[in-house]
Symmetry: D2
Subunit: 441 residues, 4 copies
């Protein structure tokens, strides 16, 4: 947890409207004072308390007994931003169904192609209803479309005012959450009654305060299949090398879990753990040793790994303003091929870059259920008039997390954790892949 970060959630004002959902009489509502502890480990917990002497924690997500908006009169807008991720449609569907059936809110707009659908001149608005969303949860991608980049905040808030919407749902990555925070600040400045709720999307599972992001399990499943394909290809050829590049600009979760799920990889290279090519204990030497012993080798690399091989000035930014990492997959392919040609050790390298195939997969059953839970929590938060927040996941509970808390943070694999060691044991790669053999003393 970053110093000075606050977990307090802002809102549009007092909630005075009783939540009259038909099932209300049986229901256990949640109150804003329920908190999920940040630290759940006894050792860690003891020292850290907030100003009131209470351990810091997150608001628990869920329906509130009193809410801010009157469902029947509500108008809502939903948009999806950034790259595809399994489950986008399931989240859209869940929000629509919850607003429609639980809160009787029937003015729901889908903004097409992300923030760009909020441009002044955009006509990219579709009306959503239960029929429109009925079967979309089993379909990959997003029926609303997505894009990178955004018009100025002012222009977007103007458009939202023109649409007269009371709540905006943003399904997107950390960049989109920054955008959502900016919209929320402008909303507050103008004194509008517009809830702004995020559902964090990251196929890399790297958003802080979100232990599990939707679509991630599905992505691991698909990624593991590709690692298995590389294994089959490498076994089929004399001194075969299977090389796979997976998603993960800043964190190696998807790569590491795909390696664990496959059980067929020899090297797992992730952004958190730098590595070298040359030297007695460098990748070239280790690969050669494995080829000698087992005649095949499988290398799985996250797209953000090995970025020290690229010069900053050569890298480009995508439309969202994120610097695109250097293409470590193609780089390794070329360097490995050249190296083994140079040393007169003929190898057969097969390179697979499956990105779109993984991103466009429909969610598996587990992610479908999870998307539904996230979507319902987002609808409850919006109805309660909250803003500038996203739905998090902490110790197995859905929570409210201020969008501002994400600033400058990224969830990464802890290189001293049981998790990373299970990867090392699985691949049997050394802890450090570097110039000289590192001996534990």
């Amino acid at each position: 947890m970053k110093k000075g970060v606050s977990f307090e959630i802002e809102s549009l004002g007092d909630t005075v409207i009783p939540n009259t959902a038909s099932t209300a009489s049986y229901f256990k509502f949640h109150s804003d004072s329920e908190r999920v502890l940040y630290h759940h480990l006894l050792s860690k917990f003891q020292g850290e308390v907030d100003e009131q002497g209470l351990p810091a924690g997150f608001e628990v997500a869920g329906p509130r007994e009193n809410i801010f908006f009157q469902g029947e009169k509500c108008r809502a807008a939903i948009l999806t931003c950034g790259g595809l991720c399994p489950g986008l449609n399931a989240v859209i569907r869940g929000i629509v169904l919850q607003l429609w059936y639980f809160y009787h809110c029937k003015q729901i707009f889908g903004v097409r192609y992300g923030y760009n659908g909020l441009r002044n001149d955009s006509e990219e608005i579709v009306k959503l209803n239960p029929d429109w969303v009925r079967d979309i949860h089993s379909v990959g991608g997003t029926m609303l479309g997505t894009s990178r980049g955004a018009p100025p905040v002012d222009e977007m808030v103007n458009k939202l005012e023109a649409l007269k919407v009371d709540m905006l749902f943003i399904i997107g990555g950390d960049g989109s959450m920054r955008g959502g925070h900016a919209i929320w600040q402008e909303v507050r400045r103008r004194g509008l009654q517009l809830a702004v709720i995020g559902v964090p999307k990251t196929i890399d599972n790297d958003i802080p305060y979100v232990h599990r992001s939707f679509g991630y399990e599905t992505a691991v499943k698909e990624a593991a299949k590709v690692v298995n394909a590389a294994h089959v290809e490498s076994r089929g050829a004399p001194y075969g090398i299977g090389l796979v590049k997976l998603m993960g600009r800043y964190s190696g979760y998807i790569t590491a879990n795909a390696v664990l799920a496959s059980g067929n990889a020899d090297f797992c290279l992730i952004p958190e753990s730098p590595f070298e090519l040359e030297g007695d204990n460098g990748l070239f030497a280790l690969v050669k040793e494995r080829l000698r012993r087992r005649r095949q080798v499988v290398i799985v690399v996250a797209e953000g790994a090995g970025q020290q091989f690229f010069r900053r000035e050569e890298l480009i930014k995508d439309a969202s303003g994120n610097t695109k990492p250097g293409d470590i997959g193609a780089y390794l392919r070329d360097r490995l091929n050249t190296h083994f040609l140079d040393v007169g050790f003929p190898v057969t390298l097969k390179y697979i870059d499956p990105s779109y195939i993984i991103r466009s997969t429909p969610p598996n059953f587990s992610d479908k259920i999870y998307c539904d839970h996230l979507a319902r929590a987002a609808a409850h938060a919006a109805m309660a008039g909250k803003g500038g927040m996203l739905i998090g996941n902490w110790h197995g509970h859905l929570t409210h997390v201020p969008m501002s808390a994400l600033e400058g943070e990224v969830r990464q694999v802890d290189l001293q954790s049981d998790f990373w060691f299970s990867v090392l044991e699985n691949t049997r790669q050394p802890y450090i892949i570097g110039p000289s053999v590192c001996v534990a003393d």
Copy 2:
């Protein structure tokens, strides 16, 4: 949490042998004083502390800096009990690989067909090694075989003494854990140095202190497919009823999640929520109303639901000593068919009971990874000389849970939780299915 339950873990004695795993120098070991808090909600947490004024919690699982056994000299035994569950082989594999490679323990015995393999005259012992387990994680069922029932504790401990094993791993359900606890007590009585570690198996996900049990996600996935099949059958026939019986003697988790994952069910009947057939608001009336409106209906029932329809004396026990629930699937099939024949409303009912098909499925990628983590934790606990405990899962951490803590408890669906309400909204069934319409006031 039951009154008076203790989370303290017993062990064979002091751990004085340094853990010299090859990766040790980089590793973050866990200590026994690290605890996962039982209550992670601020509201709940405050009142409950233990004698030392500390909130109650579980030992964190994982490798210890000092251990009890010397890996190279260790002898281990593994057995699987009860019904099949996806992932049994993956747990066996994980234990063998961890003992072999991390602790250099190479005397590992597989006991075939569960506790019955520990009978006096049994010769059902196989030697396990990495080659034997290499690819079994992708295979359904258990390569060791399983059975219900057990010989007397004395006989089993005699056999374990004869095998000279230092640790016994039991992969089984709550009954098997009771058996494990009895073995551990006998071990303590005899003063043996034999660690007894459980990996809890429950396809129903109903073991207390275990938020997620292995194989459960896979089972939900397969169960949801069957619900979809029932949906297709019910749509294909005039006034079609699709009826599916799923696992779940005491808890409706698998049934409820299959309903959520499918999105195609109209009624979800679970043990936690009693229901009636007759009356204005009984199942017959509700089914008829749906058939009139939508011409098809899908009912999913957990095997333990509606047990009030059976007389106790008619029920039988299985070999494990568990009372088998009355066959609610066949009961509903017959009652529905008779009822609609009687009232002159012809229906076409298709009944599906997929039990074995679900139980024998190989684990999905997510469960494969999870089984691996559980198995590693079990191996670490055994090497540390612990006993009478199982690997739990609490707030996302693997934990140590005394086998005795399970006694008399079962994890059930909370009928006032967001989770159950998401099921009700999904099916649009009323909160109470009973004789008269229940109006919320």
Copy 3:
């Protein structure tokens, strides 16, 4: 080929309207004189010629250069009959798309719930168009619904006259094709201009003159999964017996192919090959021998096998008028359990009857393509004014087959064929399972 059977196709009259499909100028039309030879083996072919001295053969299906109906003015009706089979929706979709886009026929009616939708008082008619069918090919079952049984032919033809349709497409089994033939005869008697075209549906692949029926490959795939489940269950238990009942009233194709695809079965019991339970070489003895040697056994039985164990008078007919076979699955389960109890050899038998799960599966990619081809051929035949015929498959070509040719015939597994021997080699079961060991001399 049955004596006296004719392959000549009837039609409504001369085809004088040029087929002006937009792609016509590039197209290779088929003429009615193109024939697929019945015998493609040289040895067989020589002796059999028809009256003109030409070898007997089937009309080749496909578009004709001149057609009978004018597309824009056409009205068509489609119905599905009998049990579910993977691909029904894909056939419906293919017919609609072909009529709509190729022939500009835009009055297409879906008759719901099979022939019963043609009852006098039925209002079960829906209008079909490309939007309605767009995505249904990936969905199991039939969106039109199906049923067994039919009203009198007169009543159905009255209804068709009232609907003013020019063509009726019947997707159904051999019983439904008999019904279609009766409708066609009544149509001829009344002098109506109504084409009657069948698309044969048989999950058992047992319709004569149809080498491959749609949905069959998908069914084999699903059935093989169930055989694998039984294998896993039988391996998991001491002296485990996995018993699976599959579809196949008169022919064992699906059972035999599921056995081949799985590779895990020990006994494949089909209607074509009678077997006995008792005796030195009976099923009991053979099962016991395998259990002794391999400790597990998997038996796969087609529903129509072993019917000699049932007395004719005990059997019942279904609504289509077909005699339902005795339940050989439950019979074997009970007999095996009793036998091994009696002889004091404890076994653990797990019985799986997956019928609906297989029938409701969506078609695999191969069947989707095949359904599309069948549907297009059916549309072409109808536009050419043909009637009383179905789309067959002979030597890899789609053909026209008179519905009358099916009478009294069923396609069965040839017990002397390479195919059946590959099953015997796969299971290693003897050619004859009977009272005494049969020695080849």
Copy 4:
């Protein structure tokens, strides 16, 4: 059929050894005089007869009543060549099981890494037996490994002589069959008693006289999934273009069938049908029109399509000596991106090249069964002492085809066939994609 091609099969000599397979007494053996007619269409058949006045045809594959080799004394070798294809392992397994159990031939050698395993100095020989092959049919790739290229024929035959093998099974593409023919000719020249049997492997399904090649259905299934992924990606972006490159150097079968199976493609570009980019009716114009109308477009291109865009001298050859086609996928990606940038019409193009992912897939159930049939037929042919031939598939029968008959031929999609028109109707692309709109007259 090429002029002058002969379908006569050569053999090592008279078959005088009775086939004493245990099941022989029940078996219907095939004789060499049984033939599958080349032409099965009546219209075509009449004119073409061979010298004896009989219609030309292929020998039917299958077991012979008398055979050339004595099973118990036989020594066999198996190798796999060229790129991966689903089912290679299933063919290896089928040959081993058939030789071992049916013919009691137990000296079976696996030659690793294709023809290169027959180099003088190679030690790449493994002994095969039922245990080794038991489960490999469910595994992608080839357990024997493969490679491109070959040592001189002399060297290979020397090696085979040194191994003292009586039969060589070659599983490979058309190049490998040419190699097999050369080996067979050398065998004949030296007067050796060595049967040489091919099992044709072509993921493109383009080998003449082989209506269905193994692995092809599986490849179509996987390819269709990728087309669906491109569809999802193109729908997710504003003016999204999904571009997929599939296998198919000379024929478009896999591309066309993947398009049919997916149902989501707008353009199917194959080697058989040349196309242009520019002009009123060129690809650019057609794509733009679709984007305007539907906002997304999916293009599927076979790797051998559009080769006129590459200059012969720029192309390179692979190790097998085949000219590698120009990379039409990358070419189209770049040209499309540049074109739409130039005309100020911003598009979002996602390019997918899934080659290895498809090639390494395990065979589906249907292909598993088919591989088994092919393998058994190959074993029967070898035992009968045949040589220089491969197992074909004609009108649904397995056949014997001389390797020499393949010379200079390739199976291609008939652009005037129903099949190709079903693709055109599915994509709704014009028959000719060229400079000006082509009007049918």
